[in-house]
Point group: C2
Chain length 474, copies 2
């Protein structure tokens, strides 16, 4: 059975394209041991955090410079061979799978922080720099980079998937925070988009076209992003609620009142239990919100007081404050480990992740019915959410050897997406389309808009070599 | 002489394309008096606020629905005739000129506010709704739409040029504030991009590709934008400085400290004089910053105190506060009338506007040298700036009958743009490329990126009928 076949968009015939020996020879000649066909390396580059499987790429190239990337793409273009950009492999939607064969182009060694412009609150990095590395590099400037998808992803990967995460409710997503890019086109040419100016009306917004293009239009090699002053005051709190509904209603009111909360994350009782087991946290096993407030001391106090008042009207328990940086780190590490805690709760399982995002007023409608459906299904799941953005994730924990479990999970996912779309929402808040959401994308935006995407893809990558078979099948 | 010829990008042969009688007949048959060839209407639709001139369009269609737009574009496509979308005509860069002939498609009558979703802080409007009309429509909800380019432009036009203005320093530009679009493609098909969800990673970001595409990829017919809660407290102040440099240094520090100021606008002494003459304001004729603070009462007080301290270190005079809504309106009306005040100061003149935007730390370097050059040139000018974004505008006041004045102004403009680009800035912060900045665009982003834009244009509009000859010449 084609392991991808349960996702209806993936039932199209997937052809592995031939990778000529002449291409491998040319790459080995230039890159020596930095081009490898060793199976273990190819397999490690042929998967990601999704539950999908495909044959590994024919070779892996470890680029150390933009010139390396340009050379590789140019050679691949000459031979009509797919190129799949690879950062650290944390995609959740099958972006890194070589579904049509080809070369995995690992930019992880392109990890230089190129220029920190603290007085402009910008930084330019190579695509392989990870978000933690970036924050370490800018720490002494009093600035930070807020986008936090949980995983320690690369800036190139985060740009390619239009990532966001826990801080997006306050600071926006990669869409709002990438100022400029260096990109190797599908022809192997190096281009630059955007500038370090905060805004621009100079021509088509290629930066934002490439942000979220999932490697299908070119390889991102450098990224310039905004930085923010480290808040004068930060405080974080945990607040438990008698029901998910109470937690969600609290969130909706926080957002509708315009309180500039920096983080507001939902974890359901079941997932709290998993996290407790994984990290020995001793959290109250009820639905909870993890919150963080940034600002001046007075502003943080004001925000926290308003939120406490709103929460208590929904019957919340008292806030538990994480006052030291160490306690905050422990809290957010627990949040970020929810995925791994869940995976560990069912040995051998894989998670099928959902990623719907709806307008804030629809959040309760979208979430509560989906919880009821998931509970009724018998499939264990975790549930976490960047609920301030209307974005949440179920992770249905399936045994990959049991097709029926996958079927049930996909049915739950379909019902959830249908619900989100009916509520003016989107099938993907931050993970991207990848292999998994092609049908959803057409339902969401209509065939006309997807045709426009296809036209752009064909114009910019006429040989269809850039990460083919993702977002749509040409 | 071709009146456009002083802009070097416009020296290419500009061909007026034929508009067949059969097309006009078909349009008149459907639209009756809503399709007109009357010269006065065509002339009114063949110009904008720029200093450029071109023959008027062959006809003007007044659309009242998306179906009207789709019909018109489809017919024009069948005949290979240009279509130039028109809102209220406030473009500053020649966007509305029929440089290749064709039909002006006026969407000004598509002025319905379609749905206000106050609980989600979103609103959907037809493209012809203006920003003042929008704010009037949502006033009772306690929300507002902050993007304020000065002119009472349409939401369609503001989207098409990626407009911003005085509030962008706090609330972002159209780039950050458009959530979704309805668009008629160059083939006359109706498509939808985006959703009302706050964020999305579902496929290529067509919304942001179309925002700022200046009518060259399709006609925007509906726009969904974000709204914001009216701040609990607003206070506005005028502060005069002994020099432009002192005002600019103050601005740089405000931004670098992360103070969330809502507006910070520079007006130079000369322009204050023009505004005083025009509106009898009695402002101190020195460089000044107009500022506005939004937030809770405590936060507004805190922001204002910090800014006053920074300003006084630069030798500023005391703040003069505009405490009532009426005083604030008077203040911002004066700012918005700077353009008209300047035009009136030299009877018969036109303004050649600049629009550079640089990283905040480079603002003084970019601005002060350009002031010195403008002063030395003998050409009168006004100078205003959204300086918190690093964006400012000279308006060189030229006699259109004196080619030498235009030449001097264009030389000043070229020198300013070259300076801005050398400082990592952009040739256009918010006005767009239009007819005026094609060469600058290539210098700024490189031929490779402009080639990518051209490829997209050719793919989406193979007959080159959508506002041809703007941004680049195919």
């Amino acid at each position: 059975m084609n392991p991808l076949a349960t996702s209806s968009a993936l039932q199209a015939d997937i052809q592995q394209r031939a990778v000529p020996a002449a291409l491998i020879d040319a790459l080995k000649k230039r890159f020596a041991e930095r081009c490898t066909t060793a199976l273990v390396v190819r397999e490690q580059h042929g998967r990601d955090e999704s539950s999908f499987e495909a044959p590994p790429p024919a070779a892996v190239v470890f680029a150390e410079s933009t010139a390396d990337v340009a050379f590789t793409v140019k050679m691949a273009s000459d031979h009509g061979v797919p190129v799949i950009p690879f950062g650290v492999g944390t995609s959740l939607e099958g972006h890194l799978l070589a579904v049509q064969g080809g070369i995995s182009l690992d930019v992880g060694r392109m990890n230089q922080v190129l220029s920190i412009n603290a007085e402009d609150l910008t930084v330019t990095v190579q695509a392989g720099v990870t978000r933690k590395q970036l924050n370490e590099a800018v720490k002494s400037t009093g600035l930070f980079f807020p986008i936090d998808p949980g995983a320690d992803a690369t800036l190139g990967g985060m740009s390619a998937t239009r990532a966001s995460g826990t801080n997006a409710v306050r600071y926006g997503t990669m869409r709002e925070n990438v100022l400029a890019l260096e990109v190797v086109t599908a022809q192997g040419e190096i281009i630059h988009t955007g500038t370090r100016a905060k805004k621009s009306a100079a021509g088509y917004d290629l930066t934002r076209l490439l942000v979220g293009s999932e490697g299908t239009l070119g390889v991102i090699t450098e990224v310039t992003v905004k930085l923010y002053p480290l808040p004068e005051a930060i405080s974080a709190a945990i607040c438990s609620f008698p029901s998910i509904e109470a937690a969600v209603r609290t969130t909706i009111q926080i957002i509708q009142m315009g309180i500039p909360i920096a983080r507001v994350e939902l974890i359901d009782a079941n997932t709290v239990r998993m996290v407790n087991n994984y990290a020995k946290l001793g959290l109250r096993e009820e639905p909870l919100l993890l919150m963080e407030f940034h600002g001046s001391p007075a502003s943080v106090k004001e925000q926290a007081e308003m939120v406490q008042e709103i929460a208590s009207e929904s019957g919340s328990h008292a806030f538990e404050w994480a006052t030291t940086p160490e306690e905050r780190t422990r809290l957010w590490t627990a949040r970020h480990n929810a995925y791994f805690a869940a995976i560990q709760s069912k040995p051998g399982c894989r998670a099928i992740s959902t990623d719907t995002c709806v307008p804030i007023s629809r959040l309760a409608d979208c979430l509560l019915d989906s919880v009821a459906e998931a509970d009724a299904s018998g499939i264990p799941y975790f549930l976490v959410g960047h609920v301030g953005d209307g974005n949440f994730h179920f992770g249905y924990l399936i045994d990959p050897k049991q097709p029926e479990e996958r079927n049930i999970a996909e049915k739950l996912n379909h019902a959830l997406v249908a619900r989100a779309l009916a509520l003016d929402g989107t099938c993907s808040g931050e993970h991207g389309v990848g292999l998994h959401k092609m049908d959803f994308l057409v339902t969401e935006t209509g065939a006309g808009a997807v045709d426009m995407m296809r036209s752009i893809k064909k114009a910019l990558d006429p040989k269809n070599i850039m990460n083919p078979g993702k977002i749509f099948i040409l």
